[in-house]
Amino acid sequence: MFVRLVMPEFTQLLVNAGSGDETAIEHLFAQVYGDLRLLATQRLAQEAPGNTLQPTALVHEVYLRLIKSTNQILRPEDLPGDSRSRFFAAAANAMRRILIESARRKKRDKHGGTHQRIALDPDQVAEPEMAEELLALDEALTILASIEPQIAELVTLRYFGGLTLKESAVILGIAPRTADAHWAYARAWLLAEIQQSAENSEF
């Protein structure tokens, strides 16, 4: 395959991660996380207030940037399947972490933290209540991951990574129908979990 030929670090990293090399997977995550964060900052700075950020576009752009830094052009679909999955998984998880971190910060601010607003901060969460919802979702998702890891991964890919159901299914190696059923279950399960923990905390 041509991909293996002219292949400096990033693509090599992808391929290694694709074959299950743990260090490579961690390294990949760090790489994607750093770039994604930077990009989100820039994007929020450029965009008119009120515009939405597209996780999908962000992830793709991060991909393009990483690839560009290696001076070659490989579209995600040119990559061997395993490496592609690793990339999107890393990106979705990085996205999740970025969002959750910012939600946490916002929550801290609400409880009397610094109140200085910096316009260019990607961690800007306007409505603290929203931030709490996001945190609740994250917690519920973590619990789900301990019971149904694959279903939790599906939620991460689709919700945080901005992938379509079909794309997520391909990456997880399951049929679209199955992904569909998993998604319905996950949504109901998470709702139940969030309600449950809300009730508990009221007592």
């Binding site: 041509f2 939405t52 306007a126 979702l137 109901a188």
Partner: protein, 850 residues
């Protein structure tokens, strides 16, 4: 997990009664499980926005979604019935008014409720088109579109799949008039129209740089409004035709219901071909040409009358074959502007304005062969700016430019060294002069002897003089030349021309670059690599400063530069340039493109030279596969080259090599034009393969013939000739004709050093092999200095690896224990092997009859 399975299964039972019946049965006597599942089911049907909003939306601080409609009712509304106004899509877009409908979908004005209140254009793809393939493709394209960000392009804002599974796209809603209508109403002058057109070109360039092709550029897709007292265009539907069409292939418009014939008029010849899969950015350049034509003449290249009265097939034929009337002529016809459109400017004055440069610019866009259109939207814009600021334009009247190009193509100078070649070249110069004179005549007539014409004539004359100077007094029989060979004289003249070009480059850098490029390739043909590198580096730098880092010329020049470096032995540098050229080409043309594949092939060759056989083989196999798919049954010279390279890459499998070369020969014979250079190359490789397969007589016959023909064609000292001689010497060696081999290698080493350098792979190879031959003759002492030199350089040129083990053998045989031990260590030869060898030697020596 049981809970999940029951939940999933229950969802599949639609009716309430059926569902509870199932739960009764599945949960049996476990009321806790049953109530848990019932809770999950009720949550599933609830309207909670969980996982419905994008996490990033939440972060932007969006308020609660309003206008929520029940997902279920939404689903029914969209899949079974037509979308109605009032329908809310994805909790965010409320359809207000349908403003368009086509074969593939509908366009709505929609009110966006969140994250902000605004109106948007929402394109809904018709239900029934939502096959998985279409949707996957759609999603991918949508993501690419969101990378565009330009004030003159309507942004793709959002998109997704409705709950009913219909793909939709949200675009910026643009207020403005379609281009032609705006120009008419605003009574824009030709100049203002050109200014506006330049803005459009820049926007198109932006999208092209992101890899997005519009495919359906036309005045109706360019909306113009006044912004700050100036006309501001917005291009809509960028890349949409691809998204809407869904599949990657272009399909003929007639097969797409709803595409009106009017669109055909902006369609490029390549788009009207049934097999027209490979659309590229130059397709948009064509459409821009039609738009410019219409802006300047008020009518399109094909008369509306003709469109009305002709069948589809006829229109398509005209698009593919008929060269339209020049704008300056067309403007005088009845269909052009009614004469008052430009205020007082009458049609005749308008025709005079268009005649010449503007004609050329438009016609260059409308070239049937896209290779001859502008490379980029930017270069089109620049040419119009050139016109507007009275600088000469790049476009030329078609006929003369065609002649000129043909001349250049004819004269890549690979066959210098003969009187015949001289004749051909002089003929070429005369040809150019005729071309230039014709061109000038045409221009002078058209520009009515203006000052501009004078300037350009002067410049052409100068360029011509420089070209002609190369051939002055090159007669080898002329005493003044001291009997020096023609090739040497030519190289010297080319060198002088290179210097003279410097003065020209100040005045017209672009023109100078093209000439420098031609001289550079000629110098490579003459094997004067250092000069070639110097001039190509320089012109590449100029190109970069001209802001054309990705033009075709850049790609081609980078490729030539890589070749010059490769042949002069600087492989790492060559590799870098090749990879760069490949990157540019892949970005520009994609992978399955002649240029890109040729570059990949060259990369393979470069790996071969670096002895990275595995990589070479992988890439060459890929190239061959893609070329076979691309060229199909039309055999192509490039495929022959790939086969030939691949045959070298399958190292140590000489039978395969021979098979590949025989296949290459077959393809070669099917080509329309004979390609002797490649033919000789293959014949030589076949000779080498036969030698390895033990068919020594066949090998000798082939190689003797190759050497003789190379000598005639390229000259005695050309590297092609030297290389075939080296192959022949190897065959002599295998035949144990040692004396013949030895003297040939010795001769080669000397000739190669004189021609190139001592530090050159060809020279060092001959030196090393001279050593090997001495060794095989049993003259170990004489072999040592040659092998030592080759071995020392094997760090730089890995193909000299062979020298090491021969050298070790010679040291051993001459009893130089210290040196042989040191070398053994270096080569990783275990000590016991040396011992065994010694035993073997003494055994052999004893067995030898005295």
């Amino acid at each position: 997990m049981r809970e999940r399975e029951i939940f999933t299964e229950a969802l599949n039972r639609p009716g309430q009664a059926e569902r509870s019946g199932y739960l009764e049965e599945a949960c049996g006597g476990d009321p806790a499980l049953r109530s848990r599942i019932e809770k999950l089911l009720s949550l599933h049907d609830s309207d909670s926005p969980l996982l419905g909003l994008k996490p990033t939306d939440i972060l932007r601080g969006l308020t609660e979604p309003t206008n929520q409609t029940k997902t279920a009712s939404n689903r029914a509304a969209l899949s079974d019935v037509e979308a109605k106004s009032g329908t809310v899509i994805d909790h965010r877009y409320k359809l207000i008014e349908k403003i368009g409908e086509g074969g593939v979908g509908e366009v709505w004005v929609a009110g966006q409720t969140m994250p902000m209140q605004r109106r948007v254009a929402l394109k809904l793809i018709r239900a029934g088109m939502d096959s998985r393939m279409v949707m996957a493709r759609f999603e991918q394209e949508r993501q690419v579109l969101s990378l565009m960000d330009h004030p003159n392009i309507a942004n793709a804002l959002d998109g997704g799949i409705t709950s009913a599974g219909q793909p939709y796209l949200v675009m910026e809603l643009v207020n403005g008039l379609p281009l032609m209508k705006f120009c008419e109403e605003a009574k824009l002058s030709p100049r203002a129209r050109l200014d506006l057109f330049v803005l459009i070109c820049h926007a198109v360039q932006h999208a092209h740089q992101k890899g997005i092709i519009h495919r359906d550029l036309k005045p109706a897709n360019i909306l113009v409004s006044w912004v700050d007292g100036r006309p501001a265009p917005k291009i809509i539907d960028f890349g949409i035709s691809k998204v809407m069409r869904g599949n990657g292939e272009e399909s003929f418009p007639a097969t797409q219901a709803g595409l009106v014939i009017g669109t055909l008029e902006y369609m490029s010849p390549e788009q009207t071909k049934f097999s027209g899969h490979n659309i590229d950015t130059r397709t948009d350049i064509y459409a821009l040409g039609v738009i410019l034509y219409e802006l300047l003449t008020g009518t399109r290249p094909i008369e509306p009358e003709v469109i009305r009265n002709s069948g589809m097939a006829e229109i398509v034929r005209m698009i593919q074959e008929t060269v339209p009337a020049k704008p300056s002529s067309r403007v005088l016809t009845e269909t052009a502007f009614s004469s008052d459109v430009f205020g007082k400017l009458e049609k005749k004055k308008l025709a005079a304005l268009l005649r010449g440069e503007l004609d050329w610019v438009v016609m260059k866009c409308l070239e049937k062969d896209r290779e001859r259109r502008y490379d980029t939207a930017n270069s089109l814009a620049r040419d119009i700016e050139n016109y507007l600021s009275d600088r000469p334009v790049e476009a030329r009247p078609p006929s003369a430019s065609y002649l000129l190009r043909k001349f250049y193509r004819r004269n890549k100078l690979p066959f210098l060294g003969f009187a015949l070649a001289l004749l051909a070249l002089v003929g070429g110069v005369i040809g150019t002069s005729i071309g230039l004179i014709r061109e000038e005549k045409a221009r002078i007539a058209e520009l009515a002897a203006s000052e501009k014409a004078q300037r350009r004539l002067e410049k052409s004359r100068k360029a011509n003089e420089i070209l002609a100077s190369i051939f002055e007094k090159t007669n080898p029989r002329d005493f003044a030349n001291g009997g020096r060979p023609l090739q040497e004289l030519m190289a010297e003249r080319l060198g002088q021309a290179v210097d003279e070009l410097d003065s020209l480059s100040d005045e017209d850098p672009k023109e100078a670059v093209v000439l420098q490029y031609r001289l550079g390739t000629s110098l490579i043909g003459l094997e004067d690599y250092n000069k070639a590198i110097k001039i190509l580096e320089k012109s590449l730098a100029t190109l970069k400063s001209l802001d054309e880092p990705d033009s075709e010329l850049t790609i081609e020049m980078t490729r030539q530069l890589a070749e010059a470096y490769l042949r002069s032995g600087k492989r790492d540098v060559a590799l870098g340039h090749l990879e760069h050229a490949l990157l540019l080409s892949r970005t520009r043309f994609g992978v399955d493109n002649k240029t890109t594949l040729a570059l990949m092939g060259e990369l393979g060759n470069c790996y071969l030279e670096m002895r990275r056989q595995k990589e070479a083989r992988l890439i060459l196999e890929e190239v061959l596969g893609r070329q076979k798919a691309l060229f199909g049954n039309d055999y192509h010279r490039d495929m022959v080259m790939t086969l030939s390279s691949l045959s070298v890459a399958v190292e140590d499998d000489w039978a395969t090599t021979a098979v590949l070369l025989e296949e290459a020969t077959q393809v070669l014979n099917k080509l329309k034009t004979r390609d002797v250079e490649t033919e000789l190359n293959i014949q030589q490789n076949l000779g080498v393969a036969y030698a390895h397969l033990g068919k020594l007589d066949q090998s000798e016959r082939l190689l003797l013939d190759t050497v003789a023909r190379n000598e005639v064609r390229f000259g005695r000292d050309h590297s092609f000739t030297l290389s075939s001689n080296s192959a022949l010497a190897h065959t002599y060696r295998r035949q144990k004709q040692y004396e013949k081999a030895r003297s040939l290698f010795e001769d080669l080493a000397r000739r190669s050093e004189m021609k190139m350098d001592r530090d050159n792979p060809l020279t060092l190879n001959a030196i090393g092999n001279l050593g090997v031959t001495y060794r095989e003759m049993g003259r170990f002492q004489e072999a040592i200095p040659f092998l030592e030199e080759a071995h020392k350089m094997s760090v730089k040129y890995p193909e000299l690896d062979f020298a090491g083990k021969h050298l070790y053998e010679c040291y051993r045989r001459c009893g130089q224990k210290e040196k042989s031990a040191k070398l053994a260590k270096e080569l990783g030869i275990p000590p016991w092997q040396g011992f065994l060898n010694n035993v073997g030697d003494s055994f052999l020596d004893r067995a030898k009859p005295k």
